[in-house]
């Protein structure tokens, strides 16, 4: 491959880094089960029989894509993206299906576990896997016609980044404990996560759609995309804020949304994550409302033009390097 060709092709480091991030996400918790005895158990794909084989198959597809990408960049990236999209959708479907089931049908047994005595949530692995796989998918999509016509090449839109930060915070904190319930004179306590409340499974679905649309708005920067993402975010952030406010308000309101079987709990303590959700949903609401104004939609960070050959440092390589560093740190952290 000569230097002229390499200038015309997208860089390979960022797609590879995102694919590694997705594979790393598959080793993180996908489902968290919090029993009412105060214990917390986590599960991921490798806990299933045949789960390791699934991960190995996807790693093989990613490796094939990376090798092909050296010679034919877009084809290789597409193969990698299809591989990790499979893993991303597995995470999203499994997490959403279980949380929707749990949030709508409170008394259900899954894998011999009495869910009447436990709550079920998505794990952080789902967030990592889905966000990284969607990001990789959009890096591929933005190279295709007619999407290429709509993608900014020398600037980064500010609004999607401003919206993604609180939305990501909501996605993470929805799966963490909002309140801790206990009985007087006993060590028994229950941790109730945001996505374990009635009807919250559908809210989680909306959160994911909103996060995806904002990633899309980052790559396909057009007024229509931003307006649709803003509209959905306004609705989602309002609903999440209402959930958080009801839980925070406590008293009799809590009995309306927490399953009736919890009514014997006497001590209620509000966790810091609930306040993070409240602040994040307020921020998301403000940013999404601003997203309806053309002037705000047009705000962007200009990165400037560079002629090829002047600098060997590429923006996408820097982002890819940071992602790889993050993966490395998380692996070392887990090992230590």
């Amino acid at each position: 491959m000569n230097s002229g060709q390499s200038v015309l092709q997208p860089r390979l480091l960022l797609p590879v880094a995102l694919a590694v991030r997705v594979v790393r996400g598959s080793a993180m918790p996908w489902i968290t089960v919090r029993t009412f005895s105060g214990n917390e158990r986590v599960y991921n794909l490798s806990d299933l029989r045949g789960g390791i084989a699934v991960i190995m198959t996807i790693i093989l597809v990613v490796l094939i894509g990376a090798v092909i990408g050296i010679f034919k960049r877009l084809t290789g990236m597409t193969i990698m993206s299809l591989g990790v999209a499979t893993l991303g959708w597995m995470a999203a479907i499994s997490g959403m299906l279980l949380t929707i089931l749990w949030s709508l049908i409170p008394r259900v047994n899954v894998a011999g576990l009495d869910l009447a005595k436990a709550t079920l949530s998505q794990g952080p692995g789902v967030v990592v896997t889905v966000v990284a796989s969607l990001s990789l998918a959009f890096t591929v999509v933005r190279q295709l016609e007619p999407f290429r016509t709509y993608t900014p090449s020398t600037s980064v839109p500010a609004l999607p980044i401003a919206a993604l930060v609180p939305m990501a915070a909501i996605a993470v904190t929805m799966s963490s404990e909002w309140i801790r319930l206990g009985t007087e004179g006993s060590a028994v306590q229950a941790q109730v996560a945001g996505d374990a409340l009635y009807g919250s499974g559908l809210v989680v679905l909306g959160i994911w759609l909103s996060v995806g649309l904002w990633i899309g708005a980052l790559m396909v920067n057009r007024s229509l995309v931003i307006s649709v993402a803003s509209g959905l975010t306004v609705v989602i952030s309002l609903v999440v804020a209402m959930y958080a406010l009801f839980v925070w308000a406590g008293g009799s309101l809590i009995n309306w949304i927490v399953p009736a079987k919890l009514e014997r709990w006497t001590a209620v303590s509000v966790e810091p994550q609930l306040y993070i959700v409240l602040v994040s949903s307020f921020l998301a609401l403000v940013v999404a409302t601003l997203g309806f104004f053309a002037k705000i939609q047009n705000l962007r960070f200009t990165l400037g033009e560079r002629a090829p050959g002047i600098s060997k440092l590429y923006y996408s390589d820097v982002v890819g390097g940071v992602i790889l560093l993050g993966v490395l740190v998380s692996v070392v952290w887990q090992l230590v």
């Binding site: 997208p10 045949g50 016509t149 900014p152 920067n221």
Partner: protein, 98 residues
Amino acid sequence: MPAIRRRLCDVITGLFTYIAIFGMTAVWILGWMGLSVVVGSFFDLPLRTVSLVGAILGPLGFIVTIMIGVLESRNPAAAEFLPAASTSSTEFVDDPFA
């Protein structure tokens, strides 16, 4: 013998789980790909693009296809306020997030 039988059962269970997981995901991917192709053909979008968008972005690809279809069907001169991507040969060099 019971140990061998149990091991065999584990292997078969793993095999069925493997097939079920990939089967479910394949149905999901192909289903959204099909829906995106139908919508894309309505807006006269390239088949290769809408197939890939539907396959890798799922329900999001379906929504994005509709939005791109609407954008494409508008009058380009009157449509957008945001500058289109550079069409020069250095496009990928300055490409944020490549």
